[in-house]
């Protein structure tokens, strides 16, 4: 994949993710509805590839308004990833040379890899995660399960122990997928299914749409690493 194609694909997925978020904001309080409408229009322009630098500049400005308005992200990690993808794509357009363009996109690929690896690391050093108790508490007591039926999963400690270790191992070994493109694509499919499960069980739908926006970039990054080494 060429760098230009990678940027275009990432912008299309990012545009869709921002459009999805914006439609939700348009059901919120008055100020959110206006900002949501503006961002929805910008997201359409981004998907169409019209004036990407200008559109991304405007999206960044509206994102800063949101961050100021909410004293941080509204939707935790998904807002962080949205802003990070947006910023890196914007920088890739601003970059004076191909080298700096690659630095901007490389940083995004690195953060995507860290988003899995660091999550796995903080879990594996936690005894509650290793025993399966942490996931059991997430299902039993946290505000995340989408229904009472999903809460009942807390009564299946053995299943949750297997799930806990499945998540930990996958997240920890994710960086190894950079060694081979086929393995990376398989890892990204598994990661997307993991986000789908989180959306289905815990209602984290925005994560499911925004994380894949960085996937074309990490696929390009892996090929670039393979080229260099």
């Amino acid at each position: 994949m060429t760098l230009e194609l990678v940027v275009r694909l990432a912008e299309i997925i990012l545009g869709f993710a921002i459009f999805q978020q914006s439609l939700e904001f348009m059901r919120g309080l008055a100020a959110e509805r206006i900002l949501g409408l503006i961002r929805a229009c910008l997201a359409i322009l981004l998907m169409l590839g019209l004036q990407p630098l200008l559109v991304e500049s405007a999206l960044l400005m509206t994102a800063l308004l949101f961050v100021t308005r909410y004293q941080g992200p509204y939707n935790g990690g998904s807002d962080t990833m949205t802003l990070l993808v947006l910023l890196c794509l914007w920088l890739s357009h601003l970059a004076p040379t191909r080298y700096w363009q690659e630095i901007a996109l490389g940083y995004l690929a690195l953060q995507l890899m860290l988003s899995y690896f660091q999550s796995g690391w903080v879990k594996v050093i936690n005894t509650q995660w290793r025993s399966g108790a942490a996931l059991q508490q997430v299902f039993a007591l946290s505000a995340y399960p989408v229904s009472e039926r999903v809460r009942l999963w807390a009564q299946r400690p053995q299943v949750l122990w297997v799930m806990s270790w499945g998540i930990i191992i996958f997240e920890l070994i994710f960086p190894l997928a950079l060694l081979n493109q086929t393995i990376l694509i398989i890892a990204l499919v598994i990661a997307a299914l993991f986000h789908l499960a989180n959306a289905w069980l815990f209602g984290l739908n925005r994560f499911f749409w925004i994380w894949p926006a960085a996937y074309p970039v990490i696929i390009w990054f892996q090929a670039r690493i393979a080229e260099v080494f």
């Binding site: 439609l23 899995y116 903080v122 809460r151």
Partner: protein, 145 residues
């Protein structure tokens, strides 16, 4: 601004690194500003189950759930200490939900009060403790009479 942007530019991806107390929001309606709440109702209690079609719909569009997550984030900030900003954020959204007829209110009720409970496992037992009770919020749209 730098303080707000730094964790976004250099994020720490520590999802579910530890399981702390989980917030639950209850609301009560009162007729007068200084009245004592009589009955607390859970805000947006969970459905028994979410079917396949609803699950697909929620995957694409789920504003109330994401607002619920934001309210919980605000509540977690209030666990750490008093904050007028986060209390106002929660209050405004609860009032908006009532005005959108998510909850039934009798005609005599003029104000809404909310409380936050913290739920956590403690020594093998579930501990459920009220940690915050808000000031009354007038049940009217912003700028309304």
């Amino acid at each position: 601004m730098i303080k707000l942007l730094f964790p976004i530019l250099f994020p720490s991806w520590r999802f579910f690194s530890s399981i702390g107390p989980s917030p639950r929001i209850d609301v009560a309606f009162i007729a007068e500003k200084n009245a004592e709440p009589q009955a607390w109702l859970p805000f947006r209690s969970l459905p028994e189950q979410v079917g396949f079609a609803a699950g697909v719909r929620r995957l694409l569009h789920n504003p109330t759930w994401n607002e619920r997550l934001y309210i919980n984030t605000c509540a977690e900030h209030l666990f750490e200490g008093p904050s007028d900003f986060y209390a106002q954020e929660i209050g405004a959204r609860l009032v908006n939900a009532v005005l959108n007829r998510e909850m039934n209110v009798d005609g005599a009720s003029q104000y809404l009060v909310f409380r936050i409970r913290a739920i956590e496992f403690d020594a093998g037992q579930v501990r459920d403790e009220v940690v915050f009770i808000s000031q009354p919020f007038l049940l009217q749209a912003p700028g309304g009479k």
